[in-house]
Every structure is written in structure tokens, then in C-alpha cells.
Symmetry: C2
Subunit: 340 residues, 2 copies
């Protein structure tokens, strides 16, 4: 018999298909690890030498030719900062202009690397650029929500091999954010606690779904994981917005993020994945009831039909088993290891 679990943070019910659950290693990518990507491609817009492609550089670590990480405007932005703010409500139609930000973070000069293979120092640089751009973009009064996300691999929605992530700043609060905030507010009003702090406490007490702990962060598979190897990274310190992160926390998060992505890389053979960093809307940063976090969703299963239809999720992996499996994965080298 299957088991239903409710994810209190997303409010979704998940069917944990206990009877036909697969073994963790059955979720591994069956394609070969693309170990033979070139270090540089002349036709890659993010590779060294192609910086002058007309996109605006908004942040750079390192000098012009020896850069480490760059933030640039998206060549095909979904949202643009130069648009005029127009908002029209007519009958049942509501529209507004596509004002906002949509930037790309080029994570490394080398074409063939990915976060799991970077040094902790290199991941730290990426996170520093995230924070810098978050703080700058937040100053624009029409920005309501800022999300940082990464698409790794084709089934995660990217066709560009070069390691990169994105920042989107939207002029409205997406309804998905609003409903999660509403759930957190209701929990706070009922109990006087932050739902995220409470969840973290609970995960640490049980320990069976934790996959990595550092000084400031905890990575775990949620009790009601929406899909196989769905992972959350929570800061231990209550804070509603990513840009509030300290320097010490950034270095520590780099270690945590790299470790978890390396566990997936070595454990599941470089699966495609998305991650996103979710913060409270910019105008609500002082709140006690929301807690920023990172969600990682490996693209290791296909299940959209049932979900689109029923609004419920089916997870064919047991969260406790998946966590145990990831904890057991040995990562070659130390924190400064990088394949040459």
C-alpha cells in the first residue's frame, strides 16, 4: 500500500509509492558522464574571448581577461530593467509590462566544469556574485521577488553546456510564493514558530533524512519529498532572505552546496538537475515567518501526467533510503580538489 505524506511547506500531498519504490541506484543517469567536453569552445557565448557579444556585464570577479565569475544581462531576457512600468486591469484581464531583471551568472571560465567538480573557493566566488547582484537588484523599487536558479542539463531546461546560473527579479509576487508564505504565516500564527525552523529542528532530531551538515547549513531530503532525491538546504540561522548571508556563511554554504551536488554527481552519474534559492519578497524581509532556502530537484523521473491531472505528486523513491544512499557516497579528493 502506498503512503501519502503532506509537505507542510508547499502544502502538497505526495504519494510515496512504497510498494513499487525503486532502489536508489536505479535513478542513476544512464548516459555517460560527458567527461570529454572541451575546456574551451570558440562558439560558446560564455567562453573566454566571447565577452564582447553585446550583453551588458553587471558584475565581474577578477580582471577583464582573467575573470573568475561574471554576471551579464540575458541575451533573450524574459524581463528587462529598461521597460516602463505599465499595469492595466481591464475587466477580468490583468497585464503589466515585462519589467524586471533576467541575468546570467557565468560560473567559471572553463567550459567543461560543473559545480560538483569545482573547488570550495570557486563555489564561494559564485555565491559572492549571487549576493552582490541580489543586493544591487533589490534597490529597484519595481522589483518584488528575486530568485536565483540553475538549470543543469538538457532535461532541466538548458541547452548551454557552459556552467551558468540565472537571476530573475519579477515585478509581481508569483502566486506560488504567495501561497507558501500564506502557509508559513498561518503556521506562525497558530504556533508562534517559524515553520522552516521547526522543520529543521525536526529533521536534525530524527537525522534519518539528513545528507550533510555544516556549521551553518543542513542539507536533507524532506519528509514529503515531491520527487526522488528532492533536496533542501536550510540555513540554521533564521533569516528570510539570501542576501542577508554573512561572509562566513557563504564559504560554508559553498562547501555544503558543492558536497551535495558532488554526492549527486558521483552517486547518480551526473544527473540533470535544477536548483533555486528562494527568499521572501523584497518588501517583507523583516518577517519572522519565512526562511530562505535552496531547493535541488534532480531530473531523474518523469511523472508529469499524474501531477498535472491530479495536482498530487508521486515519488517512487523513499526519502529515508535516498538520504542513506547519498550519505554513503564517497567524494574523491578534498575541498580543493578539481579534476585537471
Amino acid at each position: 500500500m502506498s503512503e501519502l505524506r503532506q509537505n507542510l511547506i508547499t502544502r502538497d500531498w505526495v504519494i510515496i509509492a512504497t510498494e513499487r519504490a525503486k532502489r536508489p541506484d536505479q535513478f542513476a543517469n544512464t548516459k555517460k558522464i560527458p567527461a570529454f567536453l572541451p575546456q574551451h569552445r570558440a562558439d560558446c557565448p560564455f567562453c573566454v574571448g566571447n565577452e564582447e557579444d553585446g550583453t551588458l556585464e553587471t558584475c565581474r570577479l577578477g580582471d577583464r581577461t582573467g575573470w573568475k565569475v561574471r554576471a551579464i544581462g540575458n541575451k533573450y531576457p524574459a524581463l528587462s530593467p529598461t521597460a516602463e512600468r505599465i499595469r492595466i486591469s481591464s475587466g477580468i484581464h490583468r497585464m503589466m509590462s515585462g519589467i524586471g531583471f533576467h541575468e546570467v551568472i557565468v560560473e567559471h571560465p572553463r567550459h567543461d566544469l560543473t559545480t560538483a567538480l569545482l573547488t570550495v573557493e570557486e563555489v564561494t566566488d559564485i555565491l559572492l556574485v549571487y549576493r552582490h547582484r541580489y543586493l544591487e537588484i533589490k534597490k529597484y523599487p519595481h522589483v518584488e521577488t528575486i530568485v536565483i536558479f540553475k538549470n543543469h542539463g538538457e532535461s532541466a531546461g538548458t541547452s548551454l553546456e557552459h556552467p551558468h546560473s540565472q537571476i530573475a527579479a519579477t515585478p509581481v509576487v508569483p502566486s506560488q510564493f504567495r501561497s507558501r508564505i500564506d502557509a508559513a504565516v498561518r503556521y506562525f500564527d497558530d504556533t508562534g514558530e517559524c515553520l522552516f525552523c521547526r522543520t529543521l529542528e525536526d529533521e536534525l532530531a530524527s537525522g534519518e533524512r539528513v545528507i550533510f551538515e555544516s556549521e551553518y547549513f543542513v542539507a536533507f531530503i524532506p519528509y514529503a519529498a515531491l520527487s526522488p532525491f528532492h533536496i533542501w538546504i536550510f540555513p540554521r540561522r533564521h533569516s528570510s532572505s539570501f542576501d542577508d548571508i554573512t561572509d562566513a556563511e557563504i564559504t560554508d554554504l559553498a562547501d555544503t552546496l558543492k558536497t551535495v551536488l558532488a554526492q549527486l554527481y558521483y552517486g547518480l552519474n551526473n544527473p540533470d538537475y535544477n536548483y533555486s534559492i528562494r527568499s521572501v519578497p523584497t518588501a517583507e524581509q523583516a518577517t519572522k515567518y519565512f526562511h530562505w532556502y535552496i531547493a535541488i530537484i534532480p531530473r531523474v523521473s518523469k511523472q508529469a501526467g499524474f501531477e498535472l491531472g491530479s495536482g498530487m505528486f508521486i515519488n517512487t523513491a523513499l526519502p529515508e533510503e535516498s538520504a542513506e544512499f547519498l550519505r554513503s557516497i564517497a567524494i574523491p579528493g578534498d575541498r580543493n580538489f578539481r579534476p585537471s
Copy 2:
């Protein structure tokens, strides 16, 4: 500059990428139409001759060997009617047993057909079985929500070629349903109108997004379509639940559904798609504020990264252009035509 539109029924904001919108025909499936599927496969569990595979038959139109449509228990059900109802709330964990229904509707004895190629009479038979099973399943007290859905093609989540759809009856109201109902209630309280009736009125008045009209139904691309060729079919008569449909409406809906799916089939070269029939939770059927409808989502674009991260949708097709394109598609043959 892109344009944001809000879908008042789902509450989602959609970025309509006006600047980099594609032409409608650019969304066509590039694979060949699988015209050479066999009419029968000995190894297909849904083909004639394989009925005795241990699954429970819950409904059959026609006799045992000359059946037209069958409903059977899913061989690997996500939810099962024989489970005991157990619900546990412990700390922040909520779980319950996987009680409910998960059935398959085998839509036709032939292996190689699909709804777009069936006669209106054959589609009528499928809808009759939908209604019959809906009414039967609704009698079980632990059932809260019943959804009928279809996955067509691999990217829509099915690996089985034989034409089939599914019914899922869940023992909880999925949060996605709840939030849509909440939005509809709020609209009703504010205006005294059903949001769906109002939307339909508005689409008919403008006409630019309508793709097919019949006596009892209207098919259109919503103003804030969440993805390219996202289609809704609304009954003209206010009714909150699919099982309330009359015989005359069933025949009419069969014509509408077949026509719309044929427009997609011929216009976009047999794209993969999902459809679902969404009704109010069974306990709330008398409501004035919810309206059942069919949502069709062709799988013609990949965009999950931005959506997962930002909670917003990007649609690279203009709803008005997509509707005009589908209206222009000529469907070969009449309502009784079926390729031999």
C-alpha cells in the same frame, strides 16, 4: 518588451515573450507521425486477447470479446480502494494511507489509434465510461476529489502506445485544487459571479482566442495561457462537476474534444499532450462558484527551469496567434471519418 498576464483562475502570472515569440507552426512535432503502429500487439496489456491479466475490470462497453471501451484497475496503482483509511498527524508530520482509486480507461480495442482519429461516436463511448466510473467512485465516502486525465506520448509521461486515459480519486483535496477554489470563492464573494462563467462570457465577446464552439461547449486558448497552445474547454452551462453532464452534452463534448485534438494533430503533427477534466471536490458539488472544465496542455516546449525557480511561466507563443492558427486547420473527413 515582454508582457505579463495574470491567469485569474490559476492566479499564475505568465510572461508572454512577445519579442521572441515563435510562429505557430514552429511548435510542430518534428518526429514523424507514427503512422505505422500495428493495429494489434500481442505484448500490449491493453490489446484484445490480453484482458485476463489479473487486473479488475470495473466497466465495459460491448461484450467480452467485442468490447469498445474498458475501465480496469491500474496494475501499479498509486492509490488503492482496498486499503484501510489511516490518518496520522504527529508533530509536523502528516501522513495517511494511500486509499483511493487509480484506474485505466482503455479507449479503443485498436492499438494504433488516438482520440484525434476516432469517430465522434467512439469518443462518446469513452466519455460515457468516464461518467459512469465517476458516478460509481463518488459513492465511496473516503474519496474527496476525482480527476480524469490522459497522457499522450512519451514527453507527456506515458510509455504505453495503446490509447488510454486514467481516473484518480484521492482521499485528500490536492492543495492546487484548494487554492483554485479559494480564488474562485473570493471572486464570487467580490462580484456575485462565477469566475469561469465570466471568463467564458469574456472569451466569447472577444472571440479572438476561441478555437471551436459547439452547442454546449467552447474551446479557447486562455488570455494568460501558461504554455504554448494551452487550451481550455468550458461547458456553457454552469455546473461544478463533470458527472453532472447530460447525454446530449456528452455527444456534443465528444465532437468538441475530437475536433480540438484533431486540430492539434494535423496542425502540430501529432504533438504529445496531457488533458485533464477538473471538477470540484465531491463534497462541494452544489457550489455556485466552481465550474468544471477540461485543460489540454500540448508538450511543445521545455521551460521548467525558469518556472521551477521563479514560480512564473514563460509562454513563447501568442495566445491570439495560436488560436487563429488552430482555427485555420482543416480536418480531413467528417465526424464519422476514421483512417482505415
